[in-house]
């Protein structure tokens, strides 16, 4: 705790550097940090290139960093070679280019949209339930019970199918099913923080409810939830890939990692590279978030010796 206090007194840049040093003390944490950083950088670069390309009506702008045009047809089912590092699929499209092209859509957008929305909804509902208590708390807990009684992915599949199963429908369905766990976490943390003296002092001082919510409750409950959210980015990426794999949340003409793996099943015994490389990409991205989240949980939970 003292270390965190020291960190927060310095500037943001140097406190970030301290966090990085703390994470990197463990090799697994360092690996996670490297993977996540590379993933975020690539998502920003490729994502903004894709946005720019569609804004300027200049599609080839989205491919300038890729080895091949991800949509162009070439020789089909070529094994990995120097020209096609990860081989080509049944249509003769370069798999490496398609993987790089699809990373923002299949991982970055779902992960960040879903986890951030879930944190916001969960904070609003969970903190209010924990702080106010009474019937509101009771109702909210029963609703989260109902949500958590089904596996989240199974529920997300049905909501996405009811929402016509487009890409944006999949994101909505994830937001609908993903918030209850955050509401639970925020509520539990609020119950802990509520008993602290500084909250009572703030109440006596007559702090406005909004300020109490943001400056006292939200800020003081967020730490363990950030560590959980880091793990959860990986969970959402995996969940989205599962939905895409079984055919939910696809957009015609948009390559997506889960769909590429599912298409690759048709070439399986011989053309193994078709299904394996997209799956391994998801594995690596999720692994980065799991390792980083584990390390953060160790630091915040005080398990790690630092």
């Amino acid at each position: 705790m003292t270390e965190q206090a020291i960190i927060s007194r310095r500037g943001i840049a140097s406190s970030l550097w301290n966090w990085i040093k703390l994470i990197a003390k463990d090799p697994a944490g360092l690996l996670g940090l490297v993977i996540v950083t590379l993933f975020i950088l690539w998502s920003i670069i490729q994502g903004s290139l894709e946005l720019l390309a569609s804004y300027l009506h200049h599609p080839s702008l989205a491919y300038i960093l890729l080895p091949h045009n991800p949509y162009a047809f070439g020789p089909p089912l070529k094994p990995p070679s120097l020209t096609y590092l990860f081989g080509t699929n049944g249509n003769g499209q370069d798999i490496l280019s398609r993987i790089l092209y699809s990373i923002p859509y299949s991982a970055a957008y779902p992960a960040f949209l879903v986890v951030l929305s879930a944190i916001l909804i969960g904070a609003a509902l969970g903190i209010s339930a924990g702080y106010l208590g009474g019937w509101w708390d009771e109702v909210l807990m029963r609703v989260t019970d109902a949500f958590l009684s089904i596996p989240a992915i199974v529920l997300a599949i049905v909501v996405a199918v009811l929402l016509k199963a487009s890409f944006i429908g999949m994101i909505y369905s994830f937001i609908i099913v993903w918030w209850p766990i955050y509401a639970r976490l925020f509520r539990a943390e609020t119950l802990r923080v509520k008993a602290m003296d500084y909250v009572a002092a703030a109440q006596l001082y007559g702090v406005s409810p909004l300020r109490l919510f943001f400056r006292y409750l939200f800020i003081n409950t967020i730490d363990p939830i950030i560590a959980y959210a880091m793990l959860d980015f990986g969970n959402v990426i995996l969940a989205a890939s599962i939905l895409n794999f079984i055919g939910v949340g696809l957009q015609p003409g948009l390559p997506i990692l889960g769909e590429m793996a599912s298409d690759g099943l048709s070439g399986l015994p011989l053309a193994w590279w078709w299904a394996i490389f997209p799956s391994v990409t998801i594995l690596i991205i999720a692994l980065g978030f799991v390792l980083l989240g584990d390390r953060l949980q160790d630091i915040i939970g005080g398990r790690a010796a630092y």
Binding site: I150, I157, F245, I246, A261, I276
Partner: protein, 344 residues
């Protein structure tokens, strides 16, 4: 062991399970009615692809979709408890009947998969915790981090490539040899029916087709469970009574795997069994798609591609009921293992 307080505890848990089920029905009812607010749009849910206007009107009439919401909710509740979930537009059969055909096929392998995961995960989690920060711990941790962060279809594809295509040990696809005649349905579970009728050729074929999907589900749900098992075990091993047991001079093996360590770690792990079972369902959806195994996952995938939302909706419902039942069983087990919870 079975005293009066235990009976009360079981009844209370049963009531709790029913309440969760009712809440779930209400929740799904609300979600559907938010997404499909008008009777005609609701009719599309039951209509299959490309319905005509007259067909939609007929469906509205058939299911009373223009009735007030509370009447619809009442009808729906009655339908759920009498097993009447509507008529599937693609299979031309009642949905509940189709699901009851496929449900046992999936349960036949995900229930053993859950049991294997729990046994294996508990044991390996305890081993990892007892050898904390030694090479065995690192090995187990590396394995569970890998399985936790790999998408289930990757595990399934790897298993298929290695065991079916490369080594040729097990069949790659299908749920039974298609040439064998199916046993007459007695219990509805093909494997048990075949054993009852002494149809061992069918039972053997069924069993070897079951192994790969089961392994995929086990490996998929292994990661999270073992991680929790290791953390729980670490907490237990740091507690005072374990230190006392060491101080008394008991051997490490007795303390860790006996009634001090593992026995106390089991209690919180019982609740995790439900999570494992829920994960097994997700794994089954994907594994059945890879292995072309004709169970619930196959039913979901084909319903998605054929645009048959009512089927997906009702399957979800059955999955939820199975998870609620698993939760109830776990609660009872918890009560047996830890008598304190019976009182509260």
């Amino acid at each position: 062991m079975v005293g009066r307080d235990f009976v009360i505890f079981v009844i209370r848990r049963a009531i709790n399970a029913v309440i969760t089920l009712l809440l779930l029905i209400a929740l799904m009812f609300i979600i559907v009615h938010i997404i499909y607010p008008t009777p005609l749009s609701l009719a599309r849910l039951y209509a299959g692809p490309h319905p005509t206007y007259a067909q939609l009107l007929a469906i509205v009439k058939k299911y009373d979709l223009d009735a007030p919401l509370y009447v619809q909710f009442y009808n729906y509740l009655v339908g759920v408890f009498t097993g009447n979930l509507g008529f599937d537009p693609i299979y031309k059969e009642p949905v509940a009947q189709i699901i009851m055909y496929y449900l046992p096929i999936t349960l036949t392998y995900i229930i053993p998969a859950t049991v294997i995961t729990v046994l294996l995960g508990t044991y390996l989690g305890a081993v990892a915790a007892a050898n904390r920060n030694k090479w065995l711990d690192y090995l187990i941790r590396a394995f569970y981090v890998f399985t936790w962060s790999s998408p289930p279809f990757f595990i399934a594809i790897l298993l298929q490539l290695i065991f079916a295509y490369d080594l040729g040990l097990l069949p790659a696809t299908g749920y039974v040899n298609e040439l064998l005649p199916a046993p007459k349905p007695i219990t509805g579970v093909p494997l048990i029916d075949a054993l009852i009728e002494h149809d061992y050729a069918f039972a053997y074929s069924y069993f070897i087709h079951m192994i790969l999907p089961m392994m995929a589900v086990v490996i998929y749900s292994f990661g999270i469970y073992t991680r929790m098992a290791r953390n729980t075990m670490l907490d237990v091993l740091e507690s005072d009574y374990v230190r006392l047991a060491y101080a008394k001079g008991l051997s490490r093996r007795v303390v860790v795997y006996g009634s001090y360590g593992l026995r106390n770690a089991l209690i919180p792990l019982v609740t995790l069994m439900v999570l494992t079972f829920a994960l097994a369902w997700t794994g089954a959806y994907v594994a059945e798609d890879v292995f072309l195994y004709h169970g619930m996952g196959y039913l979901v995938t084909s319903a998605i591609t054929q645009v048959d939302p009512i089927m997906v909706y009702d399957i979800t419902f059955f999955v939820a009921i199975s998870v609620i039942i698993a939760n109830f069983i776990a609660d009872i087990l918890y009560g047996i293992l830890d008598p304190r919870v019976r009182v509260t």
